[in-house]
Amino acid sequence: MTLRWVAQRLIQLGFVVLLAAAWHATTSRGTVSPLLLPPLGAVYHEFLGLVAAGKFWPDLAVSLYELLTAFFIAAGAGTIIGYLVSRSVYAIKVFDPLLAGVYAIPAILLFPLYVLYLGIGPASKIAMGATIAFFPIVLNTIAGLHYVDRVYVKAARSMGASPRQMYWSVMFPAAFPVMLTGLRIGLILAFLSILGTETIASFSGLGHRIVELGENMDTATMFAYIIFVVLISILLNLAVSLANRLGRRGLA
């Protein structure tokens, strides 16, 4: 195992080194225009400056504010509506295909409408993120609550659980893993759509900053920001999967 493990890590390391070497080789001699691909050293320099001076804070704050607001709206609405729908089998039959059908529409198409109504400020991004995140959350809430093992429900009822106890002690804990999946997908989708819509029409946020730098042909700084956003999203993914694991363990 250890030899294989070392060999596999070496391949990964080799790949990264090769990529960096190719980048350096093509840019240092001017084979590729620095406007297209800036020298690696320049990007590294810009990245260090960016992080050390904390220049990223205003844009990061805007994007995170949009993400958290959108996520809380979607999580609140999705969980409540999902709960209400899941209370009756008939309502599930009526609403579940309806919600799944709307989910099949690429919500990004609505963005021009949102810009028309809400302007190009954070509001249209929050609305977009919330719309995109809402559907996986509500569908997973319905699925989770609907497929709770009937034995649990019967057992709890026969032991005299009140409707409130039934929900808080049986239904929600049993449905939680599925609901958590919906919340995780919703958060990631909201993040992607917020960055995307900031790119399309915006005056603040990380997506906007990257586009602005690109349009000003300041490619080195743009690459530095792209690397920064990639690191942020890797952190976000790690945090989400950690929360996921903790959430599952907490209830197991």
């Binding site: 596999q8 990964q12 690429p106 409408l113 028309l116 993040f191 399309i200 997506g207 792209i226």
Partner: protein, 250 residues
């Protein structure tokens, strides 16, 4: 009794009620610069169907989606097989695929435009960037799910590596491969439409911008509705294929 009604009928009723509310609200209270009732949107769809430029733009966007989807699937299949076929290679390369999947592609959209221009090429490339990773991941998952005993027994009966691939691995990959197709379609649609909305000369993004900036909500709604219908049809096609092939060997 309420429960004796078919859910389908109730669903239709809800949709009609929502459309009616929208119609009444838009007619009575809405600002005609911002909202149009569904009846006018429907009229605008018919009107736009006679506008040659808009039809061409919708057609162009459909082409971008179809080309990006086809290339994503082909590239994803090949790359997925390379990554997934040996356990050693998978261990070395799969974490890199997962890492790439975590990259928010929207942030590198300007790079695509710099490299591929503002024409259809950048939309196709951006669509492929979105679509290829889900295919790779589901192909790898599919290869992983082939029971090792099947491969060992095929090999012990003298099957060549190519026969193992075509007669054992491919058939067992089919269910997850179709799941990959569905995910790829959703992702390609997102990528192409996002790139269209970002910058576009002749595609639908050009017209959504124009209709928004010149306050023609009926045309904007109509175009969005048509695109949504096309997107749903493409998604449904993939979902239908998935549910048809998902349980072929049971």
């Amino acid at each position: 009794m309420m429960t004796s009604l078919s859910p389908r009928l109730v669903r239709l009723g809800i949709i009609l009620a929502l459309l009616m509310t929208w119609e009444v609200y838009a007619r009575e209270f809405g600002d005609p610069l911002f909202i149009s009732p569904p009846s006018q949107v429907l009229a605008a769809v018919i009107h736009l169907a006679h506008n040659w430029e808009v039809v061409a733009a919708v057609g162009l966007t459909c082409w971008e989606v179809i080309i990006a989807f086809t290339l994503s699937v082909l590239a994803g299949l090949v790359l997925g097989l390379i990554v997934g076929v040996s356990r050693f290679v998978r261990g070395a390369t799969y974490p890199m695929v997962l890492l790439l999947y975590a990259v928010p592609l929207a942030t590198i959209l300007p790079l695509f435009v710099v490299v591929f221009g503002i024409g259809p090429a950048s939309k196709i490339a951006f669509g492929i960037a979105h679509g290829v990773l889900p295919v790779i991941m589901t192909v790898v998952a599919g290869v992983q799910n082939v029971e090792p005993v099947l491969i060992t027994s095929a090999r012990s009966m003298g099957a060549s590596p190519r026969q193992v691939l075509t007669s054992v691995i491919f058939p067992h990959m089919i269910p997850s491969f179709f799941t990959g197709l569905r995910l790829a379609m959703t992702a390609v649609l997102f990528g192409v439409l996002l790139a269209e909305l970002y910058v576009s000369q002749a595609g639908v993004g050009h017209f959504t911008t124009e209709f928004t900036q010149t306050f023609q909500p009926q045309n904007l709604f109509a175009l969005v509705a048509v695109l949504a219908a096309i997107a749903v049809a493409l998604n449904e096609l993939c979902r239908g294929a998935e549910s048809r092939f998902a349980r072929w060997h049971t």
